[in-house]
């Protein structure tokens, strides 16, 4: 049962091949048996999952059940779940149990999904390897001495290890797509504003966007259809008509214009990864698409701009974790300053502290224009790059990551090397565009991801493009572990 896709489970449940309770029990058992090897969950909500599954079974028996009724999923532990600890993989929030659900949790619950638990991640979503968690690093099911990518490494690893068919994740600079690429899963970061951020602990508000990780584009479409939509509780939420993302999946790709940015195929790209991407692009030509070389001239500025804007926003977003109202508080503070200093010093991990410091510096008097303002100017240029590209092409394709998964600890001492992991993904966050990663090959038995970048609100077409590829190839069905 655990290797089934969401689409297959929907059929199985409706045809009464198995019940949601059976499936849920089975996956909970697998998590219990296997997850110590991957560390992809922080919290498993067994009792709640079984209650939800039972309720789903009753609704399924009664007919008229919503789309995802009885489908087991997991939520990244940065997404608030009412009554269930939401730690952000930080000591700071180790004891934090929100009294509310994030909007996407509400929506997925309403769609009938069953929550198995909360997945591990980089602390406060800051990282590209899922090694900075207070609860220990996540391991890549394809090779447990390798990282699964980050920051949504737990959500990706849980899907890759066949512990859950789909999960929610967040992507601020590539945190859905990069781990999806490194674990052979399908991950989609929607257009900024497509999915509500309400109830998702903020890292960098203007870049954060939640999306699904699943085994197929079709499954991602199911999850996105449930997650997306206008939310009056999030002022940056887009008020646009809701699409059923599963509808156009089989549309033909004849005449599709795919832009290939020359900047994404230069120095730093692993040649064997490049070869996998080239092969995937040839497959698209076979499917009727046309490849065009394009240029995104400001690409090389994306990482520096990101590492000014994201930490700047983070430095303010994380100010609330001060030991005063909730979360971690240091023992016996001497005075208020000491309470702040030690609560934050002891509660936050190294990378979080590094970014808070960088962000505070970038915003400080005398440096604001040189850093923050300059970065915002770069951001506008990057947006313009994409805007001109989309005048010529329908989608943009390239590698998701420069290379396959690296060894645990390999980049821990070198933050910049770690930051370069997101070199191809960060620009879309700066531009607010949707981006996706789908499996497209293996290098030394480690997965390679093809990135698809779409125009604003063009998720339906991206899913169509991904789905047709997955109909024509088998890379997405390759499994990390013996079934």
């Amino acid at each position: 049962m655990h290797q089934l896709t969401i689409a297959e489970i929907i059929l199985g449940l409706r045809r009464k091949v198995f019940s949601s309770t059976e499936l849920t029990r089975h996956l909970l058992d697998r998590i219990q048996q296997l997850d110590s090897g991957f560390n992809s969950f922080i919290t498993v909500t067994e009792e709640r999952a079984l209650t939800q599954a039972k309720a789903a079974d009753q609704r399924l028996a009664g007919g008229e059940a919503p789309a995802l009724c009885g489908i087991p999923i997991a939520h990244k532990d940065i997404i608030c779940t009412s009554g269930v600890r939401t730690s952000c993989a930080s000591k700071m929030l180790d004891n934090f149990v929100p009294p509310y659900d994030a909007t996407i949790v509400e929506k997925l619950n309403a769609a009938g999904a069953v929550t198995l638990g909360k997945t591990n991640m980089d602390e406060f979503a800051m990282g590209s390897s899922s090694e900075s968690s207070y609860y220990g690093p996540v391991k890549n099911p394809w090779n447990t001495s390798c990282v699964p990518g980050g920051s949504s490494g737990g959500s990706a690893a849980a899907v890759a290890a066949l512990l859950v068919p789909g999960s929610t994740a967040t992507d601020t600079g590539g945190s859905i797509r990069q781990p999806a690429a490194l674990t052979n899963t399908t991950g989609l970061k929607p257009t900024y504003g497509r999915v509500s951020r309400w109830g998702i602990v903020a890292y960098a508000s203007s870049l954060d966007q939640a999306g699904p990780i699943a085994r197929t584009a079709e499954d991602a479409a199911y999850l996105l259809s449930a997650m997306a939509g206008y939310d009056p509780r999030d002022s940056t939420s887009l008020n646009r008509p809701q699409s059923d993302f599963g509808k156009g999946l089989n549309n033909a790709l004849t005449g599709l214009k795919i832009g290939i940015p020359t900047e994404y195929f230069g120095e730093g790209l692993n040649p064997r990864t490049a070869a996998c991407i080239q092969e995937a692009l040839r497959e698209y030509e076979r499917l009727g698409a046309q490849l065009l070389d394009i240029s995104l001239p400001h690409s090389k500025l994306a990482i520096p701009a990101y590492y000014v804007i994201a930490p700047a926003e983070a430095s303010a977003n994380l100010s609330r974790f001060d030991g005063v109202r909730y979360g971690y508080r240091c023992q016996t503070p001497e005075d208020l300053r000491d309470l702040y200093r030690r609560s934050r010093g002891e509660g936050f991990g190294e990378e979080v502290q590094r970014r808070i410091l960088v962000g505070t510096y970038a915003l400080s008097a005398g440096y604001y224009d040189a850093y923050y303002n300059k970065a915002q100017q770069v951001r506008r240029l990057i947006k313009q790059d994409f805007a001109s590209a989309f005048e010529q092409v329908d989608v943009i394709m390239g590698p998701t990551t420069p290379a396959p998964a690296f060894k645990l600890g390999a980049k821990s001492a070198d933050p910049v090397a770690m930051y370069l992991e997101d070199i191809y993904t960060i620009a879309t966050n700066l531009a607010g565009l949707p981006g996706m990663s789908i499996p497209c090959g293996l290098v030394d038995n480690l997965p390679v991801g093809l990135q698809i970048i779409g125009n604003y609100l063009d998720e339906a077409r991206m899913l169509n493009i991904a789905h047709r590829y997955q109909q024509a190839t088998n890379w997405h069905t390759a499994s990390a572990i013996a079934v």
Partner: protein, 483 residues
Amino acid sequence: MEWEIVIGLEVHVQLSTKSKLFSGASTRFGSEPNTQACAVDLAMPGTLPVPNEEAFRYAVMFGLAMQARIGKRSVFERKNYFYPDLPKGYQTTQLNQPIVGAGEVEIYLADGGNKTVRLHHAHLEEDAGKSLHEDFHGMTGIDLNRAGTPLIEIVSEPDMRSATEAVAFLKKIHSVVTYLGISDGDMSQGSMRCDANVSLRPKGETELGTRTELKNINSFRFVERAIRAEAERQIDILEDGGNIVQETRLYDVDKDETRSLRSKEVANDYRYFPCPDLLPVILSDDYIEQLRVQLPELPDAKAARFQSEYSLSTYDANLLTQERATADYFETVSRACNAPKLAANWITGEISALLKRQEITISQSPVSPQQLASLIVRIKDNTLSSKIAKRVFEAMTKSADMADEIIQKHGYTQVSDSRALEKMVDEVIATNSTQVENYRKADEAKRPKMMGYFVGRIMKASSGQANPQMLNKILKEKLDALL
């Protein structure tokens, strides 16, 4: 040397919206601590701000009333600093693009003159919570009921040249916001607070001296006293050849002096940047025009109308229109008795003294407008002398009786019967032969003054009820007949 005081004010006005600036929690005053703070006000992780439309409307109404430029595009920024009663670790406020731009305020001075004070801008922001130091033995309690309450901060140019002008400015702001109904203006409850920037320069000098900022003054009276005390302190330093240190100071009411709170050198770097959770607020011309036509009659317009409609002096008209409640009170009285000048005199005289004595506002006045009108009617038709009228008024402060009831109960009717008056005059002439003799011998010019003696005797004998005009006439006739 002759010194000139230069004063600029920053006035914080709490807007009387039902809910907070960015959350649905109530803004009511005086509730149990932390009963009006929702997850957003507590800055719980994942929560997001949603702007309160009513607050924008109020701010725009204020701007329109001040003839100010309205910021059609305003931007919220984060002002970052740590304080236990600032839950998010930043205050959401407006810096570079406020909702109200430059404007002008006409102020009226006690000597009858007036002056234009320029408004620099006014911006929307959220209030912080309150730290409670009593009852917590070595610890601090935090009440977040006020956190997130909408404020407009009104910043003047340094155009005021005396403490009196500063008070007049503050009163004008108070008058406008209460007229508009956008704030209760209650300074004792902190609905209106004021910071004053005070500097000195030699008279004739155009450059500004070093200023100090007097924080959180919460009454009209203290604004005046605090500025006077600070100006004296600065003069002493300057005349001794010293320099003023730029710093924030507090006014100590008991000692009538200001003292240093913190110097600007160690002031925070607030690291303002645009709040990524809130989009810029764009106001359409239609929206602004709609508010413009809905504005109520404002104090200046009302004062002009009072002058033309009721033939009041400029001074009286300004005095009566300063507070909307006073103006309404006046109009009710004036319409009921059809004697606007008498009404104005009584309100600026007796009523005003009564309110000051009892430390209450006009809406709490024990003498209702209907009562006062009934009294004025009886003054106008000569039933009451002004002396008796004051007694009737005194009775009104203790009961809800109308003038006629009081007159009847106490037998206060004025004696206007000429035969009765003649009898009184005859009697006083008969019993005061020495004074009559003196009157006869006196110079023509001295006689009117001497008549006062007889009037006094008769008034005393009649308990003040004799109609003074008639009495004077009869007495003069009778005395002159003896010449």
